[in-house]
């Protein structure tokens, strides 16, 4: 996988020990994301999800911050892929590219770890929140200050955050715009672990390597079930649990495929 440089910032990617390590790199801007960086990040994640040599994904920032947000007015070129969906409104361009990146990361069929040092703000918090694991430096700061800039970010944090930390805490965070310390983020369950800043990169890497040794496809099914069932009623979810385990063992489907290939009517046994 090539290291990719795009626009005002860069997104670096490399694979080692079955871990795809993606690094955000926009010096002087605390790795704030623009459109080309978001597209590159989504592309690297999507490639990793198809790569048998990738069994866990690590996302971090270079230069002492994870991601300080975005850079309104300096978002770089609108990606050609979404040219038919470019639309403006009272809050600026519709967040089509932001949503594309966030949905790609959230749906990844690999475990995804966010490594949070320095600032994780706004769009950076959006990105961290859709990862499966959040590991932070003990001096990191997390928050969504966009309300203080009278910006409404339609990035889905209003869905994700209450489910991560409960509605009461999410309301405070989203509507006051206050950033919180790493210790507070650990206490309320927004991040899973803290490490001294100097040890963070190595600890996160070691953790990702342990994730990469787990049964990747089993884990992917568990992840997909959990995310889908956040939106289901109990009885529906219980049926879903059983239904996803049945298709592999239905013998008639093999006969169906054979019959189709041999251009004859299938002889089903009911098994």
């Amino acid at each position: 996988m090539p290291e990719t440089t795009t626009g005002a910032g860069a997104v670096h990617a490399r694979i080692a020990d079955s871990v795809l390590h993606i690094e955000l790199d926009r010096p002087g801007r605390r790795n704030a994301l623009d459109h080309p960086m978001m597209m590159a990040l989504a592309e690297r994640v999507a490639e990793g999800c198809e790569d048998p040599d990738v069994r866990a994904i690590l996302i971090s920032g270079r230069g002492g911050d994870f991601c300080g947000g975005d850079t309104p007015g300096e978002m770089g070129d609108w990606p050609d892929r979404f040219r038919h969906r470019r639309s403006g409104g009272p809050h600026g361009l519709a967040p089509v590219v932001e949503q594309h990146m966030l949905r790609t990361v959230r749906a990844a069929n690999r475990p995804v770890v966010a490594v949070l040092d320095g600032e994780t703000l706004g769009l950076g918090l959006d990105l961290a929140a859709v990862c499966d694991f959040r590991i932070a430096a003990d001096d990191a700061r997390l928050g969504d200050p966009r309300i203080l800039q009278a910006r409404h970010a339609a990035t889905g944090l209003t869905y994700v955050l209450p489910r991560l930390i409960g509605q009461s805490r999410a309301t405070w965070m989203l509507l006051t715009g206050e950033a919180m310390s790493a210790a507070e983020a650990l206490r309320i369950g927004l991040v899973h672990r803290l490490h001294p800043a100097a040890a963070l990169a190595e600890e996160a890497r070691a953790f990702a390597v342990t994730l990469a040794r787990l049964p990747t496809r089993s884990l992917a099914v568990k992840k997909e079930m959990t995310l889908a069932q956040l939106d289901m009623a109990f009885e529906t979810a219980m049926s879903h649990c059983l239904a996803v385990r049945q298709t592999n063992v239905i013998e008639d489907k093999d006969e169906g495929i054979r019959a189709w290939n041999e251009r004859r009517p299938p002889r089903f046994t009911g098994r």
Binding site: H192, V221, K222, L230, R245
Partner: protein
């Protein structure tokens, strides 16, 4: 089966269902799962029973499923129409059904955990209203370490019990957590010391539950379960 499981004991209005296969750390076969179902139903039908408590005899609450006896024997007749082979056999269908019976029971349900609450034990615990644990009890779902996963509804229940943040470490890594850690993340409500006898240590709590108004509890729990699944406007209108 060598001996009855669960043991059914009454302490006034408190019904104790005690898993009773201590040599195997109360790992459960078909007959034990179905025994739990029958005992739960009997407790629901008995107006004198105000609280239903699940615990384990010996060194553990429940160490999971006993895979050995999962042959043809012991499959309950009431589920014969649902005996459909899955990728890991038919066991998950029974576990899915019996844990759902606990989850949907409208009397107070309490899991008293000690030793191990793992796999099926963790499934039953997460289907109760209240979880009390010894500090050092080992809790979790290690099935992923075998490339397996449960399908009794942890994927629905856990994110609603503890917040989605803790779903990934508990379910993806398969690492067990202690009772104390489970209390920190909100999975366990109360702790007792490791050398305490769980049923004695919990007695005051259980009898306080038993003094609650049964009708109000029933209505409130039904509303809560409804509220987890329905849109706000639907819930509010249906309560009016």
């Amino acid at each position: 089966m060598d001996r009855p499981s669960p043991l059914v004991e009454r302490d006034g209005p408190v019904l104790h269902l005690i898993l009773n296969n201590p040599e195997r750390l109360n790992s459960l076969g078909f007959e034990q799962h179905e025994g739990l179902y029958d005992a739960l139903r009997a407790g629901e039908d008995d107006d004198e029973v105000r609280v239903i408590v699940l615990s384990g005899a010996g060194r553990a609450f429940c160490a999971g499923d006993d895979i050995k006896p999962h042959g043809a024997d012991g499959w309950p007749d009431r589920l014969k129409h649902r005996r459909v082979p899955l990728d890991v056999g038919v066991g998950p269908i029974l576990l899915n059904d019996v844990t759902s019976a606990f989850r949907n029971c409208l009397k107070p349900t309490v899991a008293l955990m000690h030793g191990y609450a793992v796999g099926a034990g963790y499934d039953y615990a997460s289907s109760c209203d209240f979880r009390l644990s010894t500090r050092g009890c080992r809790i979790g779902d290690p099935r992923i370490k075998l490339g397996l996963w449960g399908c009794e509804g942890w994927s629905y229940k856990l994110p609603r019990l503890v917040g989605q943040t803790w779903v990934a470490p508990l379910t993806f890594t398969g690492d067990l957590i202690t009772g104390e850690q489970a209390e920190e993340i909100g999975f366990v409500h109360r702790l007792f010391d490791d050398d305490a006898a769980p049923r004695e240590a919990a007695a005051a709590f259980l009898h306080a539950l038993a003094r609650l108004d049964a009708g109000a509890y029933r209505a409130k729990k039904a509303d809560l379960l409804l509220g987890l699944d329905q849109a706000y406007d639907h819930v509010v209108r249906s309560l009016a």
